[in-house]
Symmetry: C2
Subunit: 694 residues, 2 copies
Amino acid sequence: MLHSKLIHPKSIVVVGGSDNIHSPGGRVLKNLIDHNYEGRLFVVNPKKDSVQGVTSYKNINKIPKVDLAIIAISAKYILETVMVLTQQKNTKGFIIFSAGFSEKDEAGEKLEQEIAHLINEAGGSLLGPNNIGLINQHYTGVFTTPVPKLDKKGVDFISGSGATAVFIIEAAQSMGLTFSSIYTVGNSAQIGVEEILEYLDHSFEKKTSSKVKLLYIESIKDPRKFLKHTASLIRKGCKIAAVKAGSSEAGSRAASSHTGAIANSDVFVDTLFKKAGIIRCYGRNELITVAAILLQKESKGKNMAIITHAGGPAVMLTDVLSKNAINIPHLEGEASEVLLEQLFDGSSVSNPIDFLATGNAQQLGSIIDFCENDCPEIDAMAVIFGSPGLTGVEDVYEVLDKKIKTSKKPIYAILPSVVNVKNEIGEFIKKGNIAFHDEVLFGSALAKVYNHGTIGQLGKDPDLQFSRDIRELIERLPAGYMPTEAAVELLEYAGMKFAKPYQVRSEEELKLISKSVSYPVVLKVEGPLHKSDVGGVILDVSNEKEIYDGFYKLMKIDGAVAVIIQPMIKGMELFIGAKKETNYPHVILCGLGGIFVEVLKDISASMIPVTEEDALKMIADLKAYPMLKGVRGQSGINIQLFAEVIVKLSNLLTVAPEIAEIDLNPLMATENDLTAVDVRIRLERPKVTSVLQA
Amino acid sequence: MLHSKLIHPKSIVVVGGSDNIHSPGGRVLKNLIDHNYEGRLFVVNPKKDSVQGVTSYKNINKIPKVDLAIIAISAKYILETVMVLTQQKNTKGFIIFSAGFSEKDEAGEKLEQEIAHLINEAGGSLLGPNNIGLINQHYTGVFTTPVPKLDKKGVDFISGSGATAVFIIEAAQSMGLTFSSIYTVGNSAQIGVEEILEYLDHSFEKKTSSKVKLLYIESIKDPRKFLKHTASLIRKGCKIAAVKAGSSEAGSRAASSHTGAIANSDVFVDTLFKKAGIIRCYGRNELITVAAILLQKESKGKNMAIITHAGGPAVMLTDVLSKNAINIPHLEGEASEVLLEQLFDGSSVSNPIDFLATGNAQQLGSIIDFCENDCPEIDAMAVIFGSPGLTGVEDVYEVLDKKIKTSKKPIYAILPSVVNVKNEIGEFIKKGNIAFHDEVLFGSALAKVYNHGTIGQLGKDPDLQFSRDIRELIERLPAGYMPTEAAVELLEYAGMKFAKPYQVRSEEELKLISKSVSYPVVLKVEGPLHKSDVGGVILDVSNEKEIYDGFYKLMKIDGAVAVIIQPMIKGMELFIGAKKETNYPHVILCGLGGIFVEVLKDISASMIPVTEEDALKMIADLKAYPMLKGVRGQSGINIQLFAEVIVKLSNLLTVAPEIAEIDLNPLMATENDLTAVDVRIRLERPKVTSVLQA
């Protein structure tokens, strides 16, 4: 947890504070003073007695006890400084701006660890090194500009990159986006994004805390902790939007070289965000536009009225919204006739509501009232109003401001005239409003928010008996690919149906089996890993002669140790599998087999634990979903069974995290049945801790 | 063609000019004066002798002869004014700002037509009514602000919406995008987007004309003219980027209610743009970002170096580029080692090249020189440089400016600090540069431009013999669905292979046929339109008994007039079809049959005439393309044959525009053969003009 003295220090020392406001130490002091820090303030500067009017001490040993130290001196002096602060000054909060640590070289990394160790020992909290600091309601502990407008109900913003945080704050300014707090973690020697999320989670208070969190991150060191606190915040009523840079393979490599973290396959980040309920964004502008939408009143549905004095932007907004499943309901009826009479000739009220270039403030008021009171089919409004430069728009923006504050439905203001009515937009923002400038950026962000949907359950741990059998089996197996027999046993424990396989090693064994099986059957070689590639699978074996021929043929394959005989099952080919990556929970993948996965890459993914609701959503997200339901007169499959098997796999992986890789491919599905006919499982040691042992 | 007096008037009268610069007539006069119009200037204002220092006449009859009239008076007085101007003042150019015409009501439409008629009769050119005017190198004939920076090499911009033009000009300003000319067409009573394109095409001069054209359009009234001139401009070396608003169904309806034009299915616009070679955009910001990229030097390839002083934006840019098939090649070797030594510890030169927050101007120069001279694997550079607010960046932006001007490779400047170094960005822009502000918007626009590819051939008309047979057949058929026999004959003339059908109306005919066909065959009912729906298709009929049973069964179906007997052909199911819409050339669609079209909507489209190159690209664009080439050990089809049939259909449609609808579905494809087994053709009258008769 973050120490309260980092969050709300009663006294701050700026080590390296100076009169030069072009240096980090000088600028942070100026920011603290300019933004009215209310506690006691000291400076350590070997050459001065007073810096920017603040008492300066020439030596760290001389200062009084102090809650928080903001350190902006050369890296090599910092260990000593921290030692004095932790041991003599009862300092618990540390912000270190200086670079020259783990981002630089090994020596720097060692130094960073030593400093973090000292602070850990003292029970303190360290933000940085190599960051730009922290801004909250209590103090402005950053060395950068601009310092944004603070507001308790603004967004809490955590950034893994200082420069990116600055650029985001800059871009947010012209929209009027406000912040409640801003944290930058730098090298995260002690406090990372996860720890700040933990703090925001634990300190959350429904009435007073901000409900919107923004993240810019390049690596997630502790995905389970990240998931725990983001999911918890969201379930408490928060909205979280995040950019995880490095979403492409090349970008992931770039992020790794930047942060030193291991590159993650993006599917892990994506499913982690989905599991938590985070809205994923891919750029700064998108992130702040989504944040600005989240700060407005919540809409009850996805039905928008578009109110405009200019046709073009309304058409483009209609395009982007309707392509993204947001409705622009056609409006008609008596009330709309009455409204039309109040507008100039040539206006349209059918939605988009176009009240023409000559439309005025009074008309805008009437239109908004109409949408608010007379249109139960409308959930939210977007008002587009710019200016060709002839006349002012103060009166229009005043009406807009008033209506935004009094209307029950959210009203989004799209004000495109960033040059002609720049000042009026500034005034509008000063009143606490948000101004969007491009209707298409707004529209795609709105669709992202509105389509985000509700948050499901997080999933429960499976029951104990289920777990015990599986654990016993797993514990006695070595690492590597599991023998088919054991794999099938494992699936049985997990409650999954498998086409019963007979393992045949000799002619004698075959003699027995060949009499008792019901034909047709399938023969598969046991031994080689990629059976199909070596011609190790024979389908549709329909009598005793064929079974003998097949057996001889397969046993001649290099590495063959036995032949597996299974009933031949018909149906639609499905697959279910799982992947694992360091520190992340497993990700389950599913889809249709054959060309659907190989050519069309039609795959759904979800992070465990996967609930039945999750599994049904995974299946419905497949492009081939209509085929599963049945098309062109062909019957579909039992989707419920498909979902159940996914949940069973999720349970299995939860109790057997040693499973590094599992593939049920194919499973054969019909209207009544779902049976796996092939399985491959690989175990990894050293053993990972299972949920039961944790 | 646009009259030269509209483009370059030696004298202008502002009818309705006033001292009130908040009115259109007052503001356009001020714009003309402020931007140094060099010709003679008059005003007509019944109350004044002088307006803004310009001679004013109280009556239109009193003015001298004048080249161009800019009219900003009430609609009802305009007809009379235009009469005087055309008949007495030798006026040839007309810009009418006033509203109250076809956009308002029927009376307005009639008035508009009368005015246009007068101007047509006089051989003049009319821009408007209901527009904001025109800006070019000769005069500033708009009543709006801001008036953008003009530059002969800036973009030529045509807008179907005045307000949208203003918002685009405003948004372009902060980037430094310059304009060569701006045309707004308003109601297009005489001059529409197509006529301005025609003018730009005919007046194009390779050395002096701008090479970048921007369009914002809501409807395309004359698609063939539009295609002719956009394609011509592009083949002369221009780049055209365009927003066609109304790309969604709802948006198209909104645009129609705004412009009164018929809604177009978006596939027609999309294929029209592709045929011409236009880069399609979907919003104002995207449009100007694409335009800004087009104004820079052309890149020789798709390999980018990303140069940055901040990790985050570089990672996000890498993400968006690499997801869109733009390469960020890994850089290494001796030269990069030498470069690394010039940078601060912790920098990275592997690409992205990160020279840290402390990176300076000199280092930036070295990095750019390295990419320019030592990296043949790099085609273009993106430089990201902002500021956290501590120090200035003038020296960095100076280096950037110099290198942009001297480097052979394009260098894109991404300057995110729109607040901290606003003035420096302004200075950078003043030197003629473009500044991008958001790396992800830039990256997706860049990918759009770089992936746009080269322009193919426009396609030729088919030869005459081919045409004559088809025309003869078409001319003797009535409108409506063609009988199968005639349809098959038409396909034969067009050179397409069809599974030979035998039409059987009676037992006697069947007796003959049943002996001679080679089994298996397919039986299809003739008469009902949707054969499958009424059980009118019987597959795999393998002997005489089955053929009789089938015949009796099918002839009992309501509306049955005959039974078609065809050889049963095996292979992969494909489809080829075509759609038609008023004024547009046909669009050909192709894909795999069955679930690929019905469930996965995997369809490619192209506007006729379709060349072999186009057809091969259509096929390669299918998601299922790998299946056509052969996957999972299954053989593919003859793709060349598939393309040839598409070209043959294109030729057929060119000479037989009466074909309103044609479906070859399915065609059966193997490695060696492609045979259509079913066809449906609908003809429409009154006859449309064929290319041969035109």
